[in-house]
Symmetry: C2
Subunit: 385 residues, 2 copies
């Protein structure tokens, strides 16, 4: 099988990730941060190690500012609902994933005003438009680093500068970039960084994270046992416990640690180059196929490894089904949980076909996929005659 | 090492659980419920299988009523905050874990009134007291099945009858009983059942669940991508997607499925008998050690496999440290994230030592633990002379 759905979940993982998860479950199965026995302490140490690795990766000042969650959606909900109150104003892009757009819609119904700044599928959000959207009650700019539909990058470093200038908090969803594109929360002025464990960070599903700047105190979404201040019915103030109630996914977090270690050892620049090469190969190849309509940045422009297109002769769903059944190629059709992005692209009806290579994808796999799409296109043209 | 901290996280797991998690990560690493390719469908099927197994275990009418969460704390937060509004009244016990007590405290500050019914560490909550506590605005009875400090069982079947009689919803936290004690949500009148994956259900950390009765619609705690109704910014109404935003922990959920399958194949009655025997051995042995103060139900009374005690000569923390360092025995000291329970027991200062055997614990391990505690007690008495 050729797996080209890495924007949903990366696969395969480095061997060290599988081995770490198995080892932790078999040998270090205790509850981290509870009890004081050797195995519990060892479990806690593994969690702490991943915190330190994530902090190092994103230049987060202190590992305790890394909060572990269920997934990036959980992280975004905590950031948005923890920060925004009725009467607040938030600025976002018009191409967000539902992980950002749906909690914002829930907040909007609860008295938060939301400005969706028009965003170009080619160039991303306009800095001037963001600046123009800032109001006296603007509390937050909340934006994805890269579109999960088109791979279009937003200039987060520049947005961070605007946020600092106007004293507005800055939340970045790096679901499609963490582990590939450099993110430095201090240099980029990011106050809240939401990341998934199971995409380009190469960990497994069931773990996400949120960086919380020390100047920000969020309302909690979940309260419960934290293994600290157990005498109190109040949620503790300390990070990370304040936002980490209940038992953590120790094996998953340790697996994420192994994923981040793999990235650091490989070198993020090398990963970025590799994914960029595969993406260019894909875009160039698709552009040559008759009937292909490509969305997003043109060939050669830097983007996340996500390519959306349609083949005029056929619906996205059908094409993906044929790729799966007849060619054993896994890609994703539809709306990719991002209706706003599809409104911008004009593809809200049938969506797009999304192909997303990963670091372990080969050139041959891309070529095979391109040949398959070419063949399907030709056959359809023949049939129509 | 002798692991007697199963009330925190069960360990070891059945071999089939380890193997399932590893297999899913290596072979079925796609995103469930997204895309339509073979591997994504296979991942979705695994999640659905665990839903069906959990539904069968708890006599839940339809698998879609099983919602997967991060942990039982996440489940309880969803149930409590999803149901209760300012002005509502909720009845709970005076011996709850912070996973119940802390979200209730947060709700109390937000205009929900909370009655904590006096609860006996020996006999659990009084049905008459619950009945007396019901008011016109009582919306929910929320209670643990068994205390995580003393193992004391609450009569949930009887409470369910009262809840039905008065038209009040009924939430049960079965963190210490799921997989060992029979729970039938229909016969017991349970409307919301919160369960952890990593305790007696023998799955790994990072998965919890919540059963939601079809007559109940909860506000969502998290909105985001659900792989359904992607065109809409509104969270879908359908279960389970309404409450399951973002990527699920597929390998963890499949591992939980393997754990439930192991329980069903072994027979829950056999597991209950085994844990009961180990617990009785423990209680009988502890009662004979000079200086031991036992809390909770007396010998022979049915209870969850959780035993709390103190040794007069020494603090809980010190005793556990000696058991760990000198005897390689893992037990848990302190407040066990349940300050209310310790208020009832009069142990809010130093907490208790908690020993919790699991299905895989042997009689020899219990004996070795008892001998170690006896030896420590003797040595301390000698030192004091």
């Amino acid at each position: 099988m050729i797996y080209l759905d890495n924007a949903a979940t990366s696969w395969p993982k480095p061997e060290s990730v599988y081995q770490m998860v198995d080892k932790v479950m078999r040998q270090i199965g205790a509850n981290p941060g509870r009890s004081g026995h050797t195995m519990a302490i060892e479990a806690g140490r593994l969690v702490q190690e991943t915190r330190e690795l994530a902090a190092a990766l994103f230049a987060i000042p202190h590992p305790s500012q890394v909060v572990f969650t269920l997934n990036v959606t959980d992280s975004l909900n905590l950031a948005l609902k923890g920060l925004l109150q009725p009467g607040d104003h938030v600025i976002t892009s018009s191409m967000e994933h539902n992980a950002m757009a749906r909690p914002l819609e829930a907040l909007r119904k609860n008295g938060v005003t939301v400005t969706k700044v028009a965003t170009s599928p080619v160039n991303g959000i306009s800095l001037r438009e963001i600046q123009n959207a800032i109001q006296a009650n603007t509390k937050l700019i909340a934006i994805t680093h890269a579109s999960n539909v088109t791979g279009t990058l937003n200039p987060i470093g520049e947005i961070g500068k605007i946020a600092k200038e106007f004293g507005v908090a800055f939340l970045v969803d790096c679901a499609q970039t963490a582990g590939v594109f450099p993110i430095n929360v201090q240099e980029m002025g990011i106050d809240l960084l939401a990341f998934p464990g199971h995409k380009s960070l190469l960990g497994c599903q069931g773990v996400g994270g949120l960086y919380v700047h020390k100047g920000i105190t969020l309302k909690t979404l979940r309260e419960g046992g934290t293994g600290s201040h157990s005498e109190s019915l109040e949620q503790p103030d300390e990070l990370p416990e304040r936002y980490e109630s209940g038992t953590l996914n120790t094996s998953g977090i340790a697996g994420l640690g192994a994923g981040i270690r793999y990235i650091m050892e490989t070198g993020m620049e090398k990963i970025k180059q590799r994914e960029g090469k595969l993406t260019n190969l894909l875009v160039a190849g698709l552009a040559k196929i008759p009937g292909v309509v490509l969305y997003g940045p043109p060939l050669g422009q830097q983007r996340a490894a996500v390519v959306s297109f349609n083949l005029e002769q056929i619906s996205a769903n059908e094409l993906c089904m044929i790729l799966d059944k007849s060619f054993q190629i896994a890609v994703r059709p539809g709306l990719h949980c991002a209706p706003d992005a599809h409104r911008v692209l004009g593809t809200l009806q049938g969506g797009t076909i999304r192909i997303s290579p990963g670091y372990f994808t080969t050139e041959e796999e891309i070529e095979t996929c391109l040949q398959a799409i070419t063949a399907i296109g030709k056959e359809l043209v023949e049939e129509m005659k």
